[in-house]
Amino acid sequence: METKKKKHKVLLEGPVQPSFIADSIAKHSSKTDIGAHAIFLGQVRADAKEGKAVKAIEYSAYPEMAESILSEIREDLFSRYPITCMHIYHSVGTVKAGEISLFVFVSCKHRKESFDALRDIVELLKAKVPVWKKEIYEDESHVWV
């Protein structure tokens, strides 16, 4: 199926907009062999550290390696699960507390494999993709985490 081979640009500048997520869902209405969409959204948390709250996270990446690792993860997942299509978007740059920084969208015939695949993708992504975050606090100080 063509959708399996398509190369996606994974890294997006700034937050993932809710309207982008809605549009992505809408684009699948013609793929009527899909019975289950599983979506993971990572949101920036306003953690408090030493009395200061996180107001934003600044993400940076090694873009070429991140894109190639993500495409390996895609290949791996397609070989292990009956996935109809898969989309992964990760923010780079500044994402404020409450905004979305990660959007993983996997579609299958049935719910079980969509849940399993989704969990796998998110865990592999966290472990293997060269992305880093810097927490920016209310007083403009920062910490790499």
């Binding site: 993400y59 090694y62 990760h90 966290k126 060269p130 992305v131 880093w132 810097k134 985490v145």
Partner: protein, 79 residues
């Protein structure tokens, strides 16, 4: 000919650099490069990171040649 070095995350702050270059003549593998880097930027000594050579994670003895791209990757924290 040079080896190109990329730094990421907290390592850019430790070294004040995002990119470095070194003459490939005296650098034969990652051990040599590590020694050179720590001498130039002693702050790297206490930091946890792994190396990628031409975008593939590589271990200490990995050979290097002119034109290689070596990245210093602190622990990932995406998501």
């Amino acid at each position: 000919m040079k080896i190109n070095i990329l730094l990421f995350g907290v390592l850019t702050e430790v070294t004040g650099e995002t990119q470095l270059q070194v003459d490939a003549e005296n650098i034969h593998d990652l051990n040599d490069l590590h020694t050179w880097l720590v001498k130039k930027h002693p702050g790297l000594q206490d930091k946890t990171f792994q190396y990628a050579v031409n975008q593939a994670i590589s271990s200490a003895g990995h050979p290097l040649q002119a034109g290689d791209e070596v990245a210093l990757l602190p622990p990932f924290s995406g998501g």
